[in-house]
């Protein structure tokens, strides 16, 4: 509960039109894109939409003094419940903070506010020939603040890395309202602890990220897309490994299994040879056409070595788009196969990708559940989707057991719980298995240091 007196103080800071407390509006800020049930709704007591860092700071000061929980929110497109205000309190929506503050072309860095949409940032930089590579699937609607808070990945991670690889510095409002600057534009920087890294991926539990300095790289001049079909999953993975070992690093290398592939085929009404066990979509980029063509030929040669059954190199932009449409349509096509889908986000050492898929197959048989697997084979991040109908008696229990085992197997092959979605609420029960007591205690100690009252995004991560 937030008293009227406190609400008044907050209204005075951000303006009455930017604080919402009707039941309907609070409901709107109670969910995200995770499979956390919509009802009963985790409604905040108050939605606050600040415009400036100073406003964020003033709001945090009040929240801290009054022990009010604060959960930061961008576009609420997260997959693990990170922006769900589990303990009520304030939903701090940063989506009005949309300024691109500076593009420093000389240093190739851009400074932005947290609420800028990732695609707007990308387009802004691209106009100047500069490239911000991280492209989480949500990049057309998610905000950069959310990307940094979750350390979002994306398809281009295999060549270009994830969000954290581009974050040079942050402006963070701490629990008590203190404004902290971390990092900066100096490329080499070992002054003190690396707080920039600490806040990146902290899921709103350590502070409110308000500004971000990001590193950019020159935009590749040409791009092309390849589609490879394989009669065996192992051969598909082997092709990717051989490619990388040979020094051919594609911008992305996406793999989908037969279940996913056939789902897309049905969804898009196209025919895909039923003998195809795996499909790999590869994007390559380069500075000139000759180099691009060379990469395409090298990849083709390796793929043939591993018995590729169908090889397509896009000849036009439209053909590229058609190939990518298969990958982009995958998630919803798979989702449409069953009433409920539990999408996971495990990440394993790249070499273990085929082994992990085999283990998931076994789990699928054991529990009699359809599990589609697709993911970023180039970096070992895979998304098993457990398809189920929770109205069938006993199904829910089998699903939970299957998910538990998927996590256990991911850890067993040297992997981890989450590659790019974060822990949030949905993976919280497994965190000790992944990090051990000592690991979780270390996280708690950090949390205690920054947020002694525990008001920032309570109920998340552990």
């Amino acid at each position: 509960m937030i008293t009227n007196e406190i609400k008044e103080k907050i209204r005075a800071i951000v303006g009455p039109e930017n604080t919402l407390d009707s039941n309907l509006d609070r409901f709107g800020y109670s969910y995200d894109s995770s499979f956390i049930a919509l009802l009963p709704a985790n409604k905040p007591d108050l939605v606050v939409r600040p415009l400036t860092t100073a406003e964020v700071s003033a709001v945090m000061k009040i929240a801290n003094e009054n022990n009010i929980p604060v959960t930061a929110r961008g576009a609420a497109s997260g997959r693990t419940g990170g922006s769900i205000p589990l303990s009520g309190g304030i939903s701090l929506s940063l989506d009005r903070m949309t300024n691109i503050i500076e593009l420093d072309e000389q240093n190739m860095m851009v400074t932005v506010e947290a609420g800028v949409r990732t695609i707007d940032l990308y387009n802004f930089c691209a106009e100047k020939g500069l490239f911000y590579p991280p492209d989480p699937a949500s990049w057309k609607f998610s905000t950069i603040g959310g990307n940094v808070a979750e350390n979002a990945g994306g398809m281009r991670a295999v060549k270009y890395g994830v969000t954290a690889n581009y974050v040079m510095g942050l402006e963070v409002v701490l629990a008590d309202g203190t404004i902290l600057q971390t990092g900066g534009k100096a490329i080499k920087n070992v002054t003190g602890y690396n707080l920039t890294s600490l806040f990146t991926g902290s899921e709103g539990t350590l502070g409110i990220i308000t500004k971000i300095i990001l590193r950019l790289i020159p935009m590749p001049k040409v791009r092309n897309t390849l589609q490879l079909m394989f009669p065996s999953l192992d051969d598909a993975c082997a092709t990717i490994h051989k490619m990388l070992q040979a020094g051919i690093v594609p911008a992305s290398a996406e793999l989908m299994d037969k279940i996913g592939l056939q789902a897309v085929a049905r969804h898009r009404k196209i025919d895909i040879d039923p003998a195809t066990e795996a499909c790999v979509v590869i994007e390559i980029d380069a500075d000139d056409e000759a180099n691009l063509e060379k990469q395409a030929q090298q990849i083709s040669a390796i793929a043939r070595e591993f018995h590729v059954s169908e090889l397509r190199i896009a000849k036009t932009f439209q053909e590229s788009e058609d190939i990518w449409a298969i990958r982009r349509g995958l998630s919803s096509a798979v989702g449409a196969m069953a009433p409920t889908r539990f999408g996971e986000d495990i990440s394993v050492p790249r070499s273990e990708f085929p082994e992990m898929v085999r283990r998931i197959r076994k789990i699928s048989e054991k529990y009699d559940l359809v599990i589609a697997v697709y993911g970023h084979a180039g970096d070992g991040n895979l998304h098993p989707s457990v398809l189920c109908d929770l109205t069938i008696p006993g199904e829910e229990e089998r699903v939970h057991k299957a998910v538990d085992e998927i996590f256990a197997e991911a850890l067993a092959v040297g992997g981890t719980l989450s590659g790019e979605h974060g822990i949030g609420i949905t993976k919280r029960p497994y965190i000790t298995n992944a990090l051990g007591e000592a690991g979780v205690n270390a996280l708690k100690a950090v949390k205690q240091a920054f947020d002694p009252k525990g008001i920032l995004n309570p109920g998340k991560i552990w």
Partner: protein
């Protein structure tokens, strides 16, 4: 029986909105979220409000009703949604549900719906709009008694708007050989507000065929959009009979052609009317769809720079995007403006309920038209045309607005 119907409607709604996995793809494309960026304005917000409503998580309060009415039904979200969640259909169905529950549509929609149901009243309205005063619409229309021309515009802006079409209609498979009997479907909006464009349409059609002009009833879009499904079905039946002997039925209003193409879907469980409705919907063609198939070439070419505002009911509703643009390219110097397929905000009841929001959406459209450098903005829907005229006035003469028949 009645309860069964209600339950079915609610089930229909639930099955649509439960497809939303709340990813947020729709946020950047929703024109309403673009001018009022709180969650409840967005497609995601509304789908989840409705979902909570059907599952008992929210009660039917006035603000919930307002939220489901706060939708242009423009389908921008449906097009971009990875799961193709039919937000427009869900909003329409839930409006119908509320209307049933509360004993009918709101008074103002009933009044307008009743008026448009009567062809005599529509004809009178196209003259002096006396009838508007008669049914008391003047009180509902801002600036009720201002000069006729302006009132007429306001009047039509007051009911349908980009609304209510369900999933995209398939392209017509009708062949257009000369022996086909062609009839013209005259939309209320065209008849009341743009009779000169109607003459132009008929003149164009007469260069190809001998179109029969039928004294038809309203297509029923305003009714079905606002919870008057019964009236909609009655009028549909009469129209089906009126056009029984035509092979092709052409409309120069995107909203009419889109609605008529969808009539079959509303009778799919009615054994008596199912086949007739299917045959009727199958012969509906939008004007530009017909002209493209018939190989029509514009009568003249102007040196003016032209741009196209794509009505939601034409592009997103019927998948007709190329045909009008090709015709305009042959008719003048065509330029494509940014956001040509974004809703113009003309959504009728919407204009009355949310004038500020509607004006903001139209302002974005106006800026895009101005930035394109076009001297003429062309469209193919009377409601859009009303909006384009408003934008043209506001631009202070930088451009003019025209129906496509007036330029090709």
């Amino acid at each position: 029986m009645k309860d069964e119907k209600k339950e079915k409607l609610l089930e229909e709604v639930r099955s649509i909105v439960s497809q939303c996995d709340r990813c947020g793809s729709c946020l950047p494309v929703c024109p309403l979220f673009g001018v009022k960026d709180v969650e409840a304005s967005s497609a995601r917000g509304k789908n989840n409000i409705v979902r909570a409503l059907t599952q008992g998580g929210l009660d039917l309060t006035p603000d919930v009703l307002a939220a489901v009415n706060f939708c242009l039904l423009c389908r921008a979200c449906v097009n971009t949604c990875p799961s193709k969640v039919k937000t427009d259909e869900a909003m329409m169905a839930i409006r119908q549900h509320f209307a049933d529950q509360q004993g009918g549509a709101g008074v103002k929609y009933k009044a307008m719906g009743g008026m448009l149901k009567s062809r005599a009243l529509v004809k009178m309205a196209s003259g002096s709009l006396k009838v508007m005063r008669k049914v008391g619409l003047n009180r509902l229309v801002p600036g009720g008694m201002v000069p006729d021309q302006f009132t007429r515009k306001q009047f039509l802006a007051a009911f349908a708007g980009p609304a209510a079409l369900g999933s995209q209609a398939p392209a017509s498979t009708v062949s257009v050989s000369p022996d086909k009997k062609v009839a013209y479907f005259q939309g209320c909006g065209m008849r009341m507000m743009f009779p000169e464009a109607v003459s132009n349409t008929l003149a164009i059609l007469r260069t190809i065929t001998e179109p029969k002009v039928v004294d038809n009833l309203c297509c029923g879009l305003p009714h079905v959009a606002h919870g008057l499904r019964k009236e909609f079905l009655e009028m549909a039946k009469e129209n089906i009979l009126l056009f029984a002997d035509a092979d092709i039925v052409i409309s120069d209003c995107a909203s009419c052609s889109g609605t008529l193409k969808h009539i079959a879907g509303y009778f799919k469980n009615d054994p008596e009317w199912k086949e007739r409705a299917e045959a009727f919907s199958a012969k509906i063609m939008d004007l530009t769809e017909y002209l493209a198939k018939a190989g029509y070439q514009p009568r003249q070419r102007t040196n003016a720079t032209i741009t196209f505002h794509e009505p939601c009911h034409l592009g997103k509703g019927q998948g007709i995007k190329k045909q009008p643009r090709d015709l305009l390219k042959a008719a003048g110097n065509y330029v494509e403006m940014d956001g040509s397929d974004t809703c113009c905000g003309g959504a009728g009841s919407f204009y009355i309920d949310y004038p500020d929001i509607s004006a903001k959406i139209l302002d974005k459209k106006r800026q895009n038209i101005e930035n394109s450098g076009a001297q003429i903005v062309v469209t193919e829907c009377p409601i859009c045309l009303v909006q384009m005229n408003k934008a043209a006035n506001k631009s202070g003469g930088k451009f003019r607005a025209m129906h496509i028949s007036q330029i090709i």
